[in-house]
């Protein structure tokens, strides 16, 4: 059965000549409608391995395209273009260009894990979505997501002090994501704090933000976590050939300057 599914034809692949006469026959306008063939010119054969090297992507090779993930997906119910099954196919076949067309959609996964429970092959599609969003960031296709920046701020503080000081986390997060400190909800919270005056909590917060307490004897534990994180990040950079790509880009930049 041939597939004539209009939604699979992209706008930019449809050409129509306003004025066209062929052999004396006027075929202007929609009579000259022509669909440009879509041609795959190259596969990135490393793509599946790159995604598999990132946390969550380990089981992508198990997929047999049944579509259970897309069927159960909460985001797909709102946006039919949000299609994990399709992206897993693109990744496994190495169609990087096609995948990048959806880079503004992929990160929208809400991690509800419905797909995880529906998948008959234990692909862990939610993990694959996370790994793919991470891959897009590492390769520079999308900026760091706010949640990623928050995770970084949070982790830095844990590694440094062994504690979380909310005020500081919030200030740094808002600063790094270029958001004003005077958020509406913060103002509201401040008002409520003033009217209710939870003195004990306010004192604690005040002391905390001035003294920046540390967990006693934390330095060794902090160093160990830092070391593990560095190891993991180095592993991911290596899997994605990031250092090589950066070096190539720098070389190009210097040759352009000369």
């Amino acid at each position: 059965m041939p597939i004539h599914e209009k939604s699979l034809i992209r706008e930019e692949n449809i050409t129509v000549q306003e004025e066209l006469v062929i052999d004396g026959v006027d075929v202007s306008g929609h009579w000259s409608t022509f669909i440009e063939p879509r041609v795959v010119t190259d596969y990135n054969e490393e793509l599946e391995e790159e995604i598999a090297a990132l946390p969550g992507g380990e089981y992508i090779h198990r997929c047999w395209q049944c579509g259970s993930c897309t069927n159960s997906c909460t985001v797909n119910a709102i946006d039919p273009e949000f299609n994990p099954r399709f992206w897993i196919y693109l990744i496994r076949t190495g169609m990087e260009e096609e995948l990048l067309r959806d880079k503004e959609r992929i990160w929208q996964c809400v991690s509800c894990n419905q797909c995880t429970y529906a998948c008959p092959r234990d692909v862990f599609p939610e993990g694959v979505m996370k790994a793919t969003a991470h891959w897009l960031e590492l390769k520079g296709h999308t900026p760091k997501s706010p949640s990623m920046v928050f995770d970084e701020v949070f982790t830095e503080q844990v590694i440094a002090t062994g504690k979380i000081e909310e005020g500081r986390t919030l200030r740094r997060f808002l600063g790094r994501t270029a958001q004003p400190l005077m958020q509406d909800w913060i103002v509201e919270m401040g008002k409520k704090l003033l009217t209710n005056l939870p003195l004990k909590m306010l004192t604690k917060m005040g002391i905390g933000s001035v003294l920046a307490p540390r967990t006693r004897g934390w330095s060794k534990a902090g160093a160990a976590i830092q070391e593990y994180q560095d190891e993991q990040q180095a592993k991911h950079r290596k899997a994605l050939n990031l250092d090589e790509l950066v070096a190539m880009a720098e070389q190009e930049l210097t040759s352009q300057e000369q």
Binding site: E5, Q65, T70, S72, N83, P120
Partner: protein, 350 residues
């Protein structure tokens, strides 16, 4: 006079084994837990068999007749084995009837259990009357009443068959392919189209495995002659709008969501290990493989070996199997069991 051979289970495999033994003059004892002989094709009321197109009650009925009438086959219906001990050539078994029998070797033809669709609640079986299993459709056809919606007896105008129900699914611990459901479903689809030419039949699949010669006879023929439609999609859920069943999923080839009304949804249910396998393994002192089917020993020397010398196995007891192959395996296992009784030294060399 050598000791008889014990055959457990009177389905296609067990009936083939006793026939093979009787054909060479070897006495056997056929023990069947049910009161009716014939196994799944008879007990579950199958209609026309694949690939012969013969009615199950004719084809399997003949096999039953043959064994019952043979003076060399001692048939014990409604009976189970409760104890089994001894050495190859010299086993002793206790039956639930209280009898004690002495046998030279044993062939287990204990078959499988149909998957219970209640274990996949999202597909509506047990919730909606018009969601049925392939076994139920077989019964509708074999009873002569025809394919009708159980809720009100109307003729369905749209039927969906869902493949891999209880097969190839890690979520419910059933990773195996049940081997026969694709072919059986194509066959059922053609039978529905034959009886109800105005009824549209859709098959929802992940992969189609109508292996070997079944490809032309079932997969191709169902499309070319019977216009059965195959959609590559694993269905998300079966619900109802109060009047008809609503099937939801994604047509993966065209990347489009599906929400389609149907009169009847058929689950192509798979083959589970026999629910009695744990008990059988304990009584006979044999191993089960990782999924719970009876484990095979050496597959290249003697056919049908289990982990215990002198105890053989054939048919769907070892994993999903067709009727034809169950019969061939049982004939081969009967040969190995016979050798164990007659020429134990030669048999051991296998």
């Amino acid at each position: 006079m050598t000791k008889p051979i014990l055959v457990v289970g009177a389905g296609p495999a067990g009936l083939a084994a006793t026939h093979a033994l009787a054909a060479v003059g070897q006495p056997s004892i056929l023990v069947e837990k049910e009161d009716t002989l014939g196994g799944a094709p008879i007990l579950s009321g199958y209609a026309r068999l694949v690939p012969s197109d013969e009615w199950a009650k004719d084809a399997i009925g003949r096999m039953v007749e043959r064994s019952v009438q043979s003076p060399l086959v001692d048939v014990r219906e409604g009976t189970r084995i409760t104890e089994f001990s001894g050495q190859p050539g010299n086993f002793s078994a206790k039956l639930s009837s209280g009898d004690q029998i002495e046998v030279g070797s044993a062939v287990l033809c204990t078959g499988f259990t149909h998957f219970d669709s209640v274990n996949k609640p999202e597909w509506g079986f047990g919730t909606y009357e018009d969601v049925v299993t392939t076994t139920q459709v077989e019964q509708m056809i074999s009873s002569g009443k025809g394919v009708r919606c159980p809720s009100d007896g109307r003729k369905p105008s749209r039927v969906a068959i869902l493949l891999c129900v209880g097969s190839r699914d890690r979520q419910i611990g059933r990773e195996w392919c049940s081997k026969i459901c694709c072919t059986v479903s194509s066959n059922i689809a053609m039978e529905i189209r034959e009886e109800l030419p105005d009824c549209h039949v859709y098959i929802y699949y992940m992969d189609i495995r109508t292996f070997g010669l079944y490809e032309t006879k079932y997969y191709w023929r169902s499309q070319e002659e019977f216009k059965v439609k195959y959609i590559k999609s694993r269905i998300a859920e079966v619900t109802s709008d109060g009047e008809r069943l609503i099937v939801k999923g994604e047509d993966t080839l065209v990347k489009r969501p599906i929400t389609i009304p149907f009169d009847m949804v058929v689950h192509a249910i798979g083959m589970d290990p026999n629910v009695d396998n744990k008990n059988l393994a304990e009584v006979f002192g044999i191993d089960l493989e990782v999924n719970g089917f009876i484990d095979r020993g050496n597959s290249y020397g003697n056919m049908g070996e289990t982990s215990r010398p002198g105890v053989f196995v054939a048919g769907a007891a070892t994993g999903p199997e067709t009727i034809d192959d169950s019969i061939s395996q049982a004939t081969a296992a009967a040969m190995a069991a016979l050798a164990q009784v007659h020429t134990p030294d030669a048999a051991a060399a296998g």
